[in-house]
Assembly symmetry: C2
Homo-oligomer: 177 residues x 2
């Protein structure tokens, strides 16, 4: 497998083409997404609810329920800096505490994208302007209800399912320690 | 947001470019992955273990632990037909029963890809040749251990985390019914 060319690029990510030899000797081009990584966030408000988003998503042409998330400016941007910016842009709050709950790969067969999951709490109102191409409504919801939805199939956004279940497990473990 | 061009395509998926107007009036191209969908599978063997895969993934340049999965031939391919083929190719077994545990979106901000999750059991040896570009080792592992790994961060493949936790919840509910 040999790197051949960059097929497309934006400010955030690019698509690279690789040459791959098939068993019959012929060559085929395969493509890999090169991505700076993104944060996924579970913000917990003063009532213990999760700040969920209702957000229009062009690829699906529908408004979906999901947690806040956002792409790093570059591979050099510190994860927590990205987390604070995206939280302020998407929910209007900053967090005084971020708890790192691990890395995740959303599409390891196609992309090198890594997601870092943070629980964000001790929230203080401190909004940043939203990105011009985002339409977002913030909806506080109980964590346990969201985790049921993640498990029974009512929640379809994959990052939200994993993130909420990890946060629930983390909080339950804290209670038992 | 207006469709502009197809940037790249393979047999399986393509990248479409859309024109988007920025607040200052200038235009920017944004890209959306158009995908036929894929199955993600939790195969349970006669001992109650999950058939996990150790598979080399080029985008990450490492061998990762994940569940079997595979892309549909087209949007018209029935999900269960795709599930049976991918299971045979990747594990060497066919399943006499598939239980549909819901849809998931791996990257709703970038791609219209939908994943359908099946638990697969009542397995019978019935291999198909592996895809030429795949290097796969099958490893049976206990479901409860895998679910701990999904929750505590040792498992990083996102589809595997959600799928295993949904299967565990489904099996626990069956026991309680």
């Amino acid at each position: 497998m040999t790197f051949k060319r960059t097929i497309w690029g934006s400010e955030k990510w690019r698509l690279d083409g690789y040459e791959l030899q098939k068993p019959d000797g012929s060559m085929v081009e395969t493509a890999v997404v090169r991505h700076p990584g993104a944060v996924i966030l579970v913000p917990i408000d003063e009532n213990g609810d999760v700040l969920m988003l209702k957000q229009y998503r062009l690829p699906l042409d529908q408004t979906i329920l999901e947690i806040p998330a956002g792409t790093r400016e570059s591979k050099q941007e510190p994860w927590e800096e990205c987390a604070q910016r995206e939280l302020r842009e998407e929910t209007g709050f900053r967090a005084e505490r971020f708890t790192n709950l691990g890395l995740l790969w959303p599409l390891p067969g196609t992309s090198d994208e890594e997601l870092t999951l943070f629980m964000a709490d001790r929230l203080v109102a401190d909004p940043l302007p939203q990105d011009f191409d985002e339409e977002i409504e913030v909806v506080p919801m109980p964590l346990d209800k969201l985790c049921c939805m993640a498990l029974d199939g009512r929640m379809q956004d994959m990052k939200s399912c994993v993130a909420l279940l990890r946060v629930q497990a983390y909080l339950n473990q804290q209670l038992n320690d």
